[in-house]
């Protein structure tokens, strides 16, 4: 056990998969000598050599095409898209090509690629860096989307993602990169790619969240515990697939649910969870589904983030509203 940041947990996982499987490759913009702009790949080129950890030209579609081609020739690529906003440049390669490789070949060939990319608001980056694009990518069949909320999960989920033979979009939260430290085990462990985590047990209401909002939900649970309100918090961990079974089980107990996301409200993960509940568990509810999400505007410039992204305050307001329905 050692105290590690989210970044260090990611590095730890990458170190393990490079060591374990000689077919794994890490590449992207500035991931080599520089160790990535956030130092997530720090020291890995030095340790494993330039054949395994290398810089690419500055072109996201090229990076993803490289990954697909390397995957087809027997490699296990772990490309990095430097910031998620840049993934727009690579949408055909991710959604049009990589995600349908297994489908198109009827399983004869596949490309076991794990795309790592930092996302998420609150660190006041330049425009088009921090966008929460999970709403967009969870709509891509054939692609798994993983969004860890803490260093322990980041390490275990990343190892699972790389070992999985399906393409995975692994979204690392910028705000959590350096703000969180956890005791995490040394060495290898995995966290499953299709199981949500009941991170706090409770009886009165369920909060479903993922990514950085899990910590906000936990703050709300702490705050309401002082008023003897018992909140259950579910961390989805993966947003494609979504583990509805764990959500339904919780709702059968609490009968109330608030779904929280940092992304815009329109047509996304929260909407999918709400729709699954409407289809599969609506009779367990005794209040409307509560939703907390960012407004449906374009992602704000840096100075607008703090008033735009919903955090603990907005979640607590919504939880109280649903509790008092």
């Amino acid at each position: 056990m050692a105290k590690k940041t989210y970044i260090q947990a990611v590095t730890d996982a990458l170190d393990i998969v490079l060591e374990d499987d000689p077919k794994t490759l890490i590449f992207g913009e500035d991931v080599g000598k520089n160790g990535g702009v956030f130092r997530t790949t720090q020291g890995l080129q030095e340790k494993y050599g330039e054949d395994r950890v290398f810089d690419t030209p500055l072109a996201e579609s090229g990076i993803m095409g490289l990954a697909t081609g390397l995957g087809l020739t027997g490699w296990r690529p772990i490309p990095e898209i430097q910031f998620m906003g840049f993934s727009f440049e690579a949408v055909d390669q991710i959604a049009g090509q990589l995600a349908r490789m297994r489908f198109r070949f009827d399983g004869l060939k596949n490309a076991p690629v794990t795309i790592r990319t930092p996302y998420g608001g609150g660190t006041h980056t330049a425009e088009m860096h921090a966008d929460n694009l999970e709403n967009f990518f969870t709509g891509v069949p054939g692609l798994r989307v993983v969004m860890p909320s803490n260093p322990y999960d980041a390490k275990g989920l990343l190892i699972s993602s790389v070992e999985n033979n399906d393409p995975v979009l692994f979204m690392e939260n910028l705000k959590l990169y350096r703000s969180m430290k956890d005791d995490i085990p040394d060495g290898k462990y995995t966290v499953p790619l299709d199981k949500a985590n009941v991170i706090r047990e409770g009886n009165d209401i369920t909060i479903v969240a993922y990514g950085a909002e899990v910590n906000e939900a936990l703050k709300v649970a702490d705050s309401l515990a002082e008023k003897n309100i018992s909140v259950e918090v579910i961390d989805l961990r993966t947003v494609s697939p979504i583990d509805t079974e764990t959500i339904f089980k919780s709702i059968e107990k609490t009968h109330k649910v608030v779904i929280v996301q940092e992304a815009q409200k329109m047509a996304g993960v929260g909407a999918q969870v709400a729709s699954a509940i409407a289809e599969g568990a609506i009779l367990s509810l005794d209040a409307p589904v509560g939703r907390v999400a960012a407004p449906n505007s374009v992602y704000p410039f840096a100075l607008g983030e703090d008033i735009w992204i919903p955090r603990a305050k907005e979640i607590e307001e919504k939880v109280n509203e649903i509790l008092n329905y």
Partner: protein, 367 residues
């Protein structure tokens, strides 16, 4: 400010047009323009080249027939491009990786897919993609094959696969895609063994080559990526083969990528789905290209040498067409795809929700 310009941009621009003439061995009058290269081919080689072009022309004619009968799906006619397509693919080896575009189905068959699989691909059946060849399925997204080819090339290099390259095709329109440049640039940066083939047939559907780019040649587009490139007479199979073979030899010796621009022509429509070239081409534009037909010039050389006759060709065409009729019958007998199988092939292990969907569809399908 000084009036004398520090640089003469017009001169630099004009200089871009100073390029070598396209490589040629046999001109449209069946005259040998490069005796040394011509002499490097045996009589058997020449006959083999002719047979391949006759095969591709017969495949085209029979496929158009099937198409008119409503028995094909998407088909991109290949008539006129036989020298460019067969010449380049014949220079490749079975261990090479092919990344074709949709007009490159004949090369895919040549590289190991069956005609039945090609027909299934055209119709839109997944089994059309389960060929044994080392190849991607024909790419629909123009430019995508170029970026993927860079990855395949780097994979070959990292695997230390000897005597192996990746080869990929696009068209004149395809060179306008950003992905085409990214693919070339990546392959160049990693010195990956990728042969980029641009089949310049003059039109991207209806848009003429002149409207695609101000670049005097498409081969020049490789220069910016540090890649050697050349134009070749795409109606001369001997030149197409010789250039592709030279490129392959150069790459397997440990060198990086090469680009070949073949100057060819699509005699027919862009696709069998209603495109009418009369809307954007005149007879006067077409006629000179019809006269460059790659079959005509080699047929003349072979006939003069006593290696070929009309009767033999007719017999071959009949034989080929009979085999295509067998192939489509085989395609007719392939069972229809199932939704449950579509779900199953989306992920290696279906997600819990997909398992429920699979059960639902399997119950329906078993009725």
């Amino acid at each position: 400010m000084a009036n004398k310009p520090i640089v003469d941009f017009e001169a630099i621009k004009n200089n871009l047009s100073n390029v070598s003439k396209p490589i040629q061995v046999l001109n449209e009058n069946a005259e040998i323009t490069d005796q040394e290269v011509f002499d490097s081919f045996s009589d058997e080689d020449l006959v083999e080249f002719m047979k391949k072009m006759v095969w591709e022309r017969a495949l085209h004619e029979q496929t158009m027939n099937f198409s008119r009968q409503g028995r094909m799906g998407f088909y991109a006619p290949t008539e006129g491009e036989e020298a460019s397509e067969m010449g380049t693919v014949l220079a490749m080896k079975k261990q090479d990786y092919l990344l074709p575009a949709y007009r490159d189905v004949p090369q895919l068959i040549q590289h190991g897919a069956t005609v039945t699989e090609a027909y299934l691909w055209s119709r839109g059946h997944v089994l059309g993609n389960k060929f044994k060849a080392r190849s991607m399925m024909p790419q629909i997204i123009i430019g995508a094959a170029y970026v993927e080819a860079a990855g395949v090339g780097l994979g070959i290099k990292k695997n230390k696969e000897e005597d192996t390259i990746a080869f990929t095709y696009t068209g004149d329109g395809g060179t306008s895609q950003g992905d085409s440049y990214e693919g070339m640039n990546f392959a160049g940066a990693y010195q990956a063994p990728v042969l980029f083939i641009v089949q310049n047939n003059g039109f991207a559907i209806s848009t003429p080559r002149a409207k695609q780019t101000a670049a005097p040649t498409l081969a020049q587009k490789a220069v910016a990526a540090g890649i050697p490139s050349v134009q070749v007479d795409g109606m001369d199979i001997l030149a197409c083969y010789a250039v592709a073979k030279a490129a392959r030899d150069y790459m397997v010796a440990g060198n990086g990528p090469v680009l070949i621009e073949t100057l060819t022509y699509r005699f027919g429509a862009h696709s069998s789905a209603g495109d009418d070239p009369k809307r954007y081409r005149t007879k006067d534009q077409e006629q000179p290209w019809f006269e460059k037909d790659p079959l005509i010039r080699l047929r003349k050389v072979l006939t003069d040498k006593g290696l070929w006759s009309e009767d033999e060709e007719d017999k071959l065409v009949e034989e080929y067409k009979a085999s295509f009729k067998d192939a489509i019958k085989e395609a007719d007998n392939v069972p229809a795809d199932k939704v449950s199988d579509m779900l199953k092939r989306t992920f290696e292990i279906p997600t819990p929700e997909m398992k429920q969907e699979i059960d639902k569809f399997e119950a329906k399908e078993s009725k």
